[in-house]
């Protein structure tokens, strides 16, 4: 895959009104952290990881547990213990009990205050997620929930249960979100998690959520909204008014850039290069200003 990733990774910019975004490439974040830049140890921090795909055995990654472990080691080596860690789905590759067990055990070794998850479509394959929700669910009878941490109000949504094209939130979840958001002040930073991107990244590959516009309309009144998704195994971003969208790297294997291959799916990269395509994301809420800094760091760094 001959992409301009290197150039892309040099991007460091203010995005929207409230998000400082550093897209980390080789050296970029390492340098930023060493310099105690705005990304380091200011305010509270949380971490996003995604798409661990435990149970995957393929050419694109012969040992997804090893790369998952590298991601955990990176989190545990952060200068500041993250207040929480969010896994944005596809914990498992095939929703198997032993795969979920492994994920649960490994997530339990992360040094953080709490671990949250949202399901990916690989986690709900056989039983509409019954086992997933039993082991990881935090919403009681509902497959979605919200929580307050790191100075943000976070929505953890499920958009993988009724996918007929892209992701789908559904009427019940949208109404729940409307009621949940109605209780929040417009000045409260909002973070929205879901597995499949909550904007139209590439509908031809199902990389969108069919009813995301209704959710977006509810988010417009807030001063700062950060939408963090997984599913597409690569970092892409978009700013729409005061809403910033970021998709995350996987810890297991990359996927092609939108439209750069006939089909999506696990992408084999040259031996020794895999770590450059996998990563973790650190999100830092800066006190006073309420600005949110999003930093992606590859496992190769």
């Amino acid at each position: 895959m001959n992409i301009d990733r290197g150039k892309f990774l040099e991007c460091m910019a203010w995005c929207g009104t409230g998000v400082l975004y550093t897209l980390a490439g080789p050296g970029v974040v390492g340098r930023a952290l060493a310099d105690a830049s705005p990304l380091a140890s200011v305010g509270s921090t949380f971490v996003q990881i995604s798409d661990t795909h435990v149970g995957f055995h393929g050419d694109a990654n012969a040992d997804v547990l090893a790369t998952f472990q590298q991601a955990i080691d990176k989190i545990n080596a952060l200068p500041e213990r993250p207040e929480f860690v969010m896994h944005t789905g596809d914990l498992s590759h095939l929703s198997k009990p032993e795969q979920f067990d492994t994920v649960q055990q490994m997530l339990g070794t992360i040094k953080t205050g709490a671990v949250y998850t949202v399901p990916g479509e690989h986690d709900v394959i056989d039983d509409r997620g019954a086992l997933y929700f039993k082991m990881f669910g935090r919403g009681g009878a509902k497959p979605w929930y919200s929580f307050d941490a790191s100075g943000v109000h976070a929505l953890a949504l499920t958009n993988v249960l009724d996918i007929t094209g892209g992701g789908f939130l559904g009427r019940d979840q949208l109404e729940w979100a409307r009621a949940d958001l109605a209780k929040q002040r417009s000045s409260t930073p909002i973070v929205v998690f879901a597995h499949i991107p909550l904007y139209a990244v590439y509908p031809e590959w199902g990389w969108t959520t069919d009813d995301y516009l209704e959710l977006l309309a509810m988010l417009r009144r807030f001063d700062s909204v950060t939408v963090l998704n997984g599913h597409i195994h690569q970092v892409l971003s978009k700013v729409d008014g005061k809403v910033s969208f970021f998709t995350a790297d996987s810890t297991a294997f990359p996927q092609p850039k939108p439209g750069s291959a006939p089909k999506p799916g696990p992408l084999k990269v040259p031996a020794g290069k895999l770590g450059e395509y996998l990563g973790i994301r650190t999100v830092n809420l800066r006190p006073v200003s309420g600005q949110i800094a999003v930093a992606d760091e590859s496992l190769a760094q």
Binding site: A60, I125, I163, K263
Partner: protein, 115 residues
């Protein structure tokens, strides 16, 4: 016609048992195989006689399902190399898709008995 099927079935059953481990069909017909490869059902539309068993095999390293649009059958998740078979007994047109990748679609047409 029925007699002919019965006779054929007797001939074929022995071979089928050796040939397709996953097939549990006692169909008088030969199994039909549909491979799933490169995010597509390789025979996206097939027409079969009633009683035929269709064997789906996933060759991709991403999981797929064979799920009826009307809910009448569902393979569950198929990992790489997994097979799943389903015996179609009732005439009709069965549209199916992959729950993980809904852009993947296929159709099984089961003809009227004896036609």
């Amino acid at each position: 016609m029925k007699l002919l099927f019965a006779a054929l079935g007797a001939l074929l059953l022995t071979g089928m048992a050796l040939q397709t481990v996953s097939a549990s069909s006692t169909s008088p017909n030969t199994d039909v195989h549909v491979n799933i490869n490169n995010y597509a059902f390789q025979a996206p539309s097939i027409t079969i006689a009633p009683g035929t068993t269709v064997v789906f095999k996933n060759l991709d390293d991403d999981p797929h399902t064979v799920t009826a649009v009307d809910g009448s059958f569902d393979s569950k998740g198929l990992g790489q190399g997994d097979t799943w078979s389903h015996r179609f007994t009732t005439p009709g047109t069965y549209a199916y898709y992959c729950k993980v990748h809904p852009m993947m679609k296929g159709t099984v047409v089961v003809t009227e008995s004896g036609s």
